[in-house]
């Protein structure tokens, strides 16, 4: 039993598109997938000609396909962008060292400049060291907070105008559900936007916001793109794992669920008068933060004091106060108390 491509080109179909249920052949699939990403980029005015774009490259499927597609679209449609790869080395033996090898192969193959920044250089700690201190329960908190800021720091270092990440439709749907379940209204609003920018930080773009994971993986498979797939050696975020399983179960029941969740998330509006945390800058490091002292600085202070648990428990308030105090920033002390 062979199914014909529903575009009527006469070829055999190779996949059923989850978003539309169309059966497409390879050529028509490439065209549809690339054109949709191009459309996301154009209709949201994601980039401007002349910009330098840092592609957050992990060596995994999403960022590998993102680098490939952005390079392709940039040439095909003359976006006029300068693309660079930016990798963060968390210092996880047996995981990141292997995936960085795959980023290096991408660098050669796609001929894009690559910069690798390590947690060790930026914070003085590798994830391996951090896990020795904090154990295997809260490691992802440290890792996630540090990575976010590390990408930002790297992109500034490289004089980039915008950071592009490989977050796909499945990731966005998962994040919407997580923020909904946690009642995190501020994040719920932010996580659906195609590009997030706040005062003092570089904008972050998600060209794959509407691209299904299934299509990204099949695109890489049919095009034989080289990516690295393994689990982090440290237990991954359990909460995210549950949200992920829920999204995947919903997709199996009805594949349009993912895009429906995103559309629903985009329509959520916050009632006037609801108090949202204000985005400001961290008074210790100067990076964007909704608190006077950012989470990365509080976590780092905890590590450097040999009291990492202080930074993640309820006492992070105390830690932030000490820090603010040391900065002689007494004026903002009251707002520190407000915010924790």
């Amino acid at each position: 039993m062979v199914v014909q491509c529903s575009a009527g080109c006469g070829c055999n179909a190779v996949l059923k598109r989850p978003k539309t249920n169309d059966a497409l052949c390879k050529t028509c699939f490439y065209w549809a997938f690339e054109t949709e990403v191009h459309h996301t980029i154009m209709s949201t005015k994601m980039f401007q000609s002349g910009q330098v774009v840092a592609i957050g490259a992990s060596g995994g499927k999403d960022s590998t396909v993102l680098a490939y597609i952005l390079k392709h679209l940039n040439e095909k449609y003359n976006y006029g962008l300068k693309l660079v790869l930016l990798s963060i080395d968390e210092g996880i033996t047996g995981y990141r060292d292997d995936s960085l090898e795959s980023v290096k192969r991408n660098q050669e193959e796609y001929n894009l400049p690559l910069t690798v920044l390590s947690y060790k250089d930026l914070y003085g700690w590798t994830m391996d060291d951090i896990v020795k201190q904090v154990g295997r329960k809260n490691n992802c908190t440290f890792c996630g907070v540090f990575r976010r800021q590390a990408l930002e720091r790297g992109a500034i270092l490289l004089n980039c105008d915008v950071i592009a990440t490989g977050h796909n439709a499945d990731d966005v749907a998962e994040t919407i559900l997580m923020n909904l379940l946690r009642g995190d209204i501020a994040r719920l609003q932010r996580c659906t936007s195609h590009i997030t920018s706040s005062e003092g930080s570089l904008p972050r773009a998600k060209p794959f916001k509407y691209a299904y994971e299934k299509e990204i993986v099949l695109y890489a498979y049919f095009k034989k793109l080289d990516y690295f797939a393994t689990e982090c050696v440290y237990a991954p975020d359990a909460y995210r794992g549950h949200a992920r399983a829920l999204v995947k179960d919903l997709e199996a029941l009805r594949s349009t669920s993912i895009i429906d969740i995103i559309h629903a998330g985009e329509q959520l509006a916050i009632k006037d008068g609801v108090k949202l945390p204000k985005q400001g800058v961290c008074s210790a490091c100067g990076f964007v933060s909704s608190n006077v002292i950012c989470k990365a600085c509080v976590l780092l202070e905890g590590l450097n004091r040999g009291r990492p648990k202080l930074a993640i428990g309820k006492s992070n308030k105390a830690l932030a106060e000490i820090l603010a105090d040391r900065l002689a920033n007494t004026a903002s002390l009251s707002s520190v108390q407000d915010q924790f």
Binding site: G60, K61, E231, K248, A252
Partner: protein, 96 residues
């Protein structure tokens, strides 16, 4: 009947990190994908079966290709295997 199985995208981690397997199945029986999945569970799967199967189905998030085409085009669990078929399992659940 000879069938080629390939596991990638992290799915190979459940099969002793071996990606490519060629198996022979008794040709006098008919082999649906459903039956094959059970066979894989009993004969190849090395660890944590719940990460590969959910009930009779492959776990959502693992893509299956039959002779280089999405198995959703050929009936998924009901597809009947032919000699020399190539079945590919790609996990989408590992790393981003």
């Amino acid at each position: 009947m000879e069938v080629s199985l390939n596991f990638s995208g992290g799915a190979e981690l459940l099969f002793g990190k071996i990606k490519q397997h060629t198996i022979s199945l008794p040709a006098e029986e008919t082999w649906s994908m459903k039956k094959l999945l059970n066979w894989i569970k009993d004969n190849l799967l090395k660890e944590r079966p719940e990460l590969f199967l959910q009930g009779d189905m492959v776990r959502p998030g693992i893509l299956v290709l039959v002779n280089n085409a999405d198995w959703e085009l050929v009936g998924q669990l009901d597809y009947l295997l032919q000699n020399k078929d190539e079945i590919v399992f790609i996990s989408t659940l590992h790393g981003g």
